[in-house]
Amino acid sequence: MTDVTAPAVATPRSQRPKGWYKRNEIAVTPWLFLIPGILFFSVYVIIPIFQSFYVSLFEWNGLGDIAEQGEFVGMQNYAELVGDRNFEISLWNNLKWLLLYLLAIPAGLFIALFLNQTVVGIRLYKSLFFFPFVISQVVVGLVFSWFYLPNVGLLNVILQFFGFESVNFLGDPDVATYAIIAAGLWPQTAYAMILYLTGLNAVDPEQIEAARLDGAKGHKMLWYVILPQLRPATFIAFVVTIIGALRSFDLISIMTNGGPFGSTRVLSFYMFEKALSEYGFRMGYGSAIAVVLFLIMLVFIGYFLYSMWRDEREARH
């Protein structure tokens, strides 16, 4: 090696002085790209979650400033929830939603299996079957409330045609929730169907052939070979269905507005009713309901994040 000054002249490309940004480019760039997203998301999503917790500690009618108009009541809103029958009804209805909404998964699988063929025009059939998912829940709600109309609704016309009594699906407190869930299952099943159709596409054909050589047929093939491979699709269908069930609001609002006499309320609707609806002036109470809903959802979010985290970890190794 000769002296140290020579190379600087010989290879100018490496010795250029660089600015601070240039030197820290790799470390700084991601943050620059993240800032707008994080900012927006924090302001509108993350911070409001905590604000909701905060509001739930107040008795406040939503008019004026919470610090002035609101009254700090601590956990009292939550205490009141415990004895609130409507809350209890909502909770039970949410449970019904959770459980019955899951029917969308087997139903979607069934339709997907039915449609997983390559006959002429099947693409059109598939997209038409998917239709309900694209339509707004508001329209689905309207469509189904007309479908359910007592006496003149199509469903009742059909029932009567087969000699059954007409049923007031949305007017009977014992039936209404199920009727709304059925309406909700319509688009949700379509969603699950799409997930399964793509899942079925991704099933390794050689494994099916191996299974055929192994003598697995029909439902055995489905159970032992296909379903396990559809696990990712099932997982996603599960996640989106749970979330859909807990978020159910539009349908209830459109179809029964919580009625008859509050029997179709779920937490998300009850919360809205308490906080923002015509007679609802209890922001604190509503927020407390939202917090409970959030905590329930947190179980599922946690589960989802955990499995994502597991996948991430595996992907790295």
């Binding site: 008019l63 007592p150 007017g171 009625g259 006499f261 923002l276 007679y279």
Partner: protein, 396 residues
């Protein structure tokens, strides 16, 4: 006069979204705009049902100058929150001649918070032709009512159409049954939380109601319909009467019923108490955050003036009753009857309506209970317990 030099913009949000009121409101705004060359009137008409929940947002940020709302307790949250402007001085100054009689409905905490612009009677609208066919008379007592109803039910019809999906129609029934059974004062005690829902008098009201329910007086599945959706039952003759406000009349006419086919009678007497009536008043208010207060006040004066009142409540506009004592009631069978009923026959007092007299939370829980009662009368005990619990919390 001094108003002609109004300038700037006057922002009005109105909930008169049904076709006829909408046209009336639009005309009103246009006229006012024309009267004041330097003033621009911006009118936004919002859905009437939606407005009930949206008003608070509208008042919070960038509030308009003038808005629609309802009288009585329904104003309470906004008055408490300081969102309505106190216009007591207008009443005191005599800026609002002819409104003395209705001032009460606008009064909370000893001050006035807005002006009424229309009100309407409630009562029983019925199919005159079917009554004639069955040989029935307008009843005056509850016994007659029940007897009539029996005839109607026997003829294969329901006596009353009602659409209780949005609950408040059931509130109308309760108002009347309770006012007739126990009198106006007791009804108000209940509304203000002084009387208990466990009171035997309340049970008596419900017992009367139950008589009707048990005989099949109401149409089936009413909990599924909105009030408009129940109208076809009357139109088609499947139900003969409808306890409803006068606003239903244009709808009935539009559906093809002539004035020969529909008529109106006052809710019949049950107990020997002075007859109270529901006559809900719709109102205009100035938002406390209004930018153009001068124009807003002028507008309030304008709508409540005798001529304008006559005009906008006319049969081809709102088709309701004017609030100004100096204006004239339109030459309309129902308005005339209603006006007469309210001015002559409402000796008990005039109530606003269930959801306006009761505080919001009580009203909401209450009407839900009423609807449930109409479907499952056997649940009464449970319902009353619930309402009582709510009462204890709401009025604490």
């Amino acid at each position: 006069d001094g108003h002609s030099n109004l300038e700037g913009t006057l922002r009005i949000i109105s909930d008169m979204s049904n076709p006829a009121p909408r046209a009336a409101m639009e005309g009103l705004a246009a006229d006012f705009d024309e009267m004041h060359p330097n003033l621009t009137v911006e009118l936004e008409i919002v859905d009437r049902e939606a407005w009930k929940s949206q008003i608070r947002n509208a008042l919070s940020a960038n509030p308009p100058d003038v808005i629609n709302w309802y009288a009585a307790n329904r104003m309470r949250p906004y008055v408490d929150a300081g969102l309505f402007m106190d216009i007591s001085d207008m009443y005191a100054n005599g800026d609002l001649p002819g409104l003395e009689a209705v001032q009460g409905a606008m009064t909370l905490d000893g001050a006035q918070w807005g002006v009424p612009y229309t009100y309407y009677q409630w009562g029983i609208y019925y199919r005159e032709d079917i009554f004639n066919e069955l040989g029935l008379e307008e009843p005056e007592t509850f016994e007659q009512e029940i007897a009539n109803c029996q005839v109607i039910v026997d003829s294969g019809r329901a006596c009353y159409a009602i659409g209780s999906k949005f609950l408040w129609t059931a509130g109308g029934w309760f108002d009347y049954l309770n006012m007739r059974t126990n009198g106006f004062d007791f009804h108000m005690e209940l509304a203000t939380g002084q009387a208990s829902w466990m009171d035997d008098r309340v049970r008596e009201t419900f017992a009367n109601w139950r008589t009707l329910i048990d005989m099949g007086a109401f149409i089936e599945d009413h909990q599924t319909y909105s009030w408009q959706e129940a109208l076809p039952f009357v139109v088609n003759g499947e139900a003969t009467a409808y306890l409803i406000g006068n606003f239903a009349v244009p709808h009935l006419r539009e559906a093809g019923l002539t004035d020969d086919q529909i008529d109106f009678y006052q809710f019949p007497m049950i107990a020997d108490v002075p007859m109270g009536e529901d006559a809900p008043t719709d109102t205009f208010h100035i938002a406390s955050g209004a930018q153009n207060v001068d124009a807003a006040r002028a507008f309030l004066q304008y709508v409540t003036s005798a001529e304008v009142q006559t005009e906008i409540n006319g049969p081809d506009a709102l088709g309701q009753l004017p609030v100004n004592a100096n204006s004239s009631v339109a030459d309309d069978e129902f308005l005339q009857q209603g006006f007469e009923m309210l001015s002559q026959n409402a000796s008990g007092g005039i109530a606003q309506f269930f959801d306006r007299d009761f505080p919001a939370e009580m009203a909401s829980a209450g009407m839900e209970g009423l609807q449930e009662f109409m479907v499952f009368p056997d649940n009464l005990d449970d319902i009353l317990e619930r309402l009582e619990a709510t009462r204890e919390r709401v009025y604490e």
